[in-house]
């Protein structure tokens, strides 16, 4: 049975031409679930609108 996350994985894999074999799906999904949980933790943190990205970081 698929759900929204499976649908999302299928759509992104198609859009990006990423391979996604059936045998890999459970592990990819498990990793994606962990990443999204951690991403939401970051997303929940209120940041000022004017904070600048630290894409290339030096002190």
């Amino acid at each position: 049975m698929t759900d929204h996350l499976d649908d999302y994985m299928n759509a992104v894999a198609r859009a990006m031409a990423l391979p996604l074999e059936d045998a890999w799906r459970p592990a990819v999904r498990a990793n994606l679930e962990v990443s999204l949980r951690l991403a939401r933790l970051v997303d929940d943190f209120p940041l000022p609108d004017d904070v600048v990205s630290a894409a290339v970081y030096s002190t």
């Binding site: 999904r29 999204l36 991403a39 904070v51 990205s53 970081y57 030096s58």
Partner: protein, 465 residues
């Protein structure tokens, strides 16, 4: 298991070679003999550059005979994680795919600087595939093995570096650290390891993983050797866009300076959770030796670890996107599946992670207005068994891979300098992070040196050979 005698330190070799008590060639042959004798067990080396090493050592000896200066690392054998470019070798970075690359035309900057100081490269070292690893296991080359118990992990991703130095095959190895990959193997293998400030040491001609988090640095069996290597490698390099600011700031002359005036605190909260007893014991021993009683809270450390995780998985995915499309079956399946998942993370989360990084950095730097050094565990446990998938902590079963680096990630996330010091517990050593303010590697090294002089930190003789 009995202890294997430890050969001379890098400092002792350099002194002996410079004063013509031994030749660089003899020191090199001794290292090659140790590798031949013990690497069947440790599997630390993927390439042994014996011919090159002998030629280089002979050149050092010739220079000495001619009365020319040879540098502070004269005749010292060293090895590098196999993501450093070594002239004549494809830079495999722990992968199968990269073995198809042409041989590197030139050495990495840090190899050039080590050899300019007289050191002798003897080979390249095993590592986790594309550095996306905390275990030291590798499906293509086999796992590197812990020098104190070969059934246990070395830690990753610089596992071969930890194994080679912990096993005393070479006195110095170079590794890389994106989320903990120098500090974790140092902890598991009982070595000293330095992850310098982000931007301090050039990464030119090394294979990247996460450019905004990647650091290179040395592992050694003593703080003096660590400082010798670090000092030899410092200096700006136009070939690394992140390494263009700092001038050379030698640390070796400062090691024995009194540390009595330094303000040392213990990281609380997040850094005192999810620990096995041995990690708690190691931090307590170090804190007691330093007279540290104050605890400081590093704010939002769990969120910092989460942000580092997101940046890592997405930047890693971006780096390997084309290889994921063209050669997915040539990856370690565990690495491939993490990278494919990373490619599916929406970009807005990555942007927020990078912005959070800026906020977090400012908050942590505020702490350094009232402390000079922060102590934290390097790993939550001593080295797990190779292949071990989970451990039970406080009655909760947790995955090993995901939890090995939880205490290192929030620190490298903002590029702070750290010396991982080995606390020689029985039966296995474990590391403690000595964390300093940006560009103050000297402070972390001084504290590590003091701990070594007190006997609290020491690289134990290998017992698994």
């Amino acid at each position: 298991m009995s202890e294997t005698p430890v050969p001379m330190s890098a400092a002792e070799i350099a002194q002996a070679v410079s004063s013509r008590k031994i030749t660089a060639l003899a020191a090199t042959e001794a290292a090659l003999a140790r590798i031949a004798a013990h690497d069947k067990v440790l599997n630390a080396f993927t390439d042994v550059t014996a011919d090159r090493a002998r030629a280089r050592a002979s050149a050092v000896d010739a220079a000495i005979a001619a009365g020319q200066p040879v540098g502070p690392l004269a005749g010292v054998p060293f090895a590098v994680k196999n993501l450093f470019d070594v002239q004549g070798l494809p830079t495999r970075a722990g992968s199968k795919i990269n073995r198809d690359l042409p041989p590197s035309p030139r050495d990495a900057t840090l190899i050039e600087r080590m050899e300019a100081a007289g050191a002798v490269l003897v080979g390249a070292l095993n590592m986790g595939e594309y550095a996306y690893d905390f275990t030291g296991e590798n499906v293509h080359d086999g796992p590197s093995r812990n020098p104190h118990d070969p059934a246990r992990m070395t830690g990753g991703s610089s596992g071969g570096s930890g194994s080679a130095v912990g096993g005393a095959l070479v006195p110095i190895a170079l590794g890389s650290d994106t989320n903990g990959s120098i500090r974790v193997p140092s902890s598991f293998c009982g070595t000293f390891g330095l992850k310098p400030t982000y931007g301090r040491l050039s990464r030119a001609r090394s294979y990247p993983f996460v450019a905004s988090l990647d650091h290179l640095g040395p592992l050694a069996r003593s703080v003096k050797d660590l400082a010798l290597a670090y000092d030899a490698m410092q200096g700006p390099d136009a070939d690394d866009p992140a390494c263009i600011v700092q001038s050379v700031e030698p640390t070796l002359p400062l090691l024995a300076n009194d540390i009595g005036g330094l303000r040392v605190a213990i990281a609380g909260g997040y850094f005192q959770q999810n620990l096995f007893q041995e990690a708690t014991e190691a931090v307590a021993r170090v804190a007691k030796a330093l007279g540290a009683t104050r605890t400081v809270e590093i704010p939002e450390a769990a969120r910092a670890r989460a942000a580092a995780y997101i940046i890592t998985t997405t930047e890693g995915a971006a780096l390997h996107l084309d290889r994921l499309r063209k050669r997915p079956n040539d990856f370690d399946p565990a690495v491939r599946d993490r990278l494919i998942a990373g490619a599916m993370i929406p970009a807005v989360y990555v942007d927020k992670a990078q912005k959070f990084r800026r906020w977090y950095r400012a908050k942590v730097l505020e702490l350094f207005q009232s402390v000079d050094v922060i102590l934290a565990p390097a790993t939550p446990c001593t080295a797990p068994r190779i292949g071990q998938a989970s451990f039970t902590l406080d009655g909760v079963e947790l995955p090993v891979r995901a939890n090995i680096g939880i205490h290192t990630q929030p620190i490298s996330f903002i590029g702070l300098p750290v010396v991982a010091v080995p606390v020689p517990l029985e039966p296995m050593p474990i590391g403690v992070q000595i964390i300093a303010a940006p560009w103050r590697e000297d402070v972390a090294l001084r504290v590590a040196y003091a701990l070594e002089q007190m006997g609290v930190a020491a690289a134990p003789a290998p017992r698994g050979l």
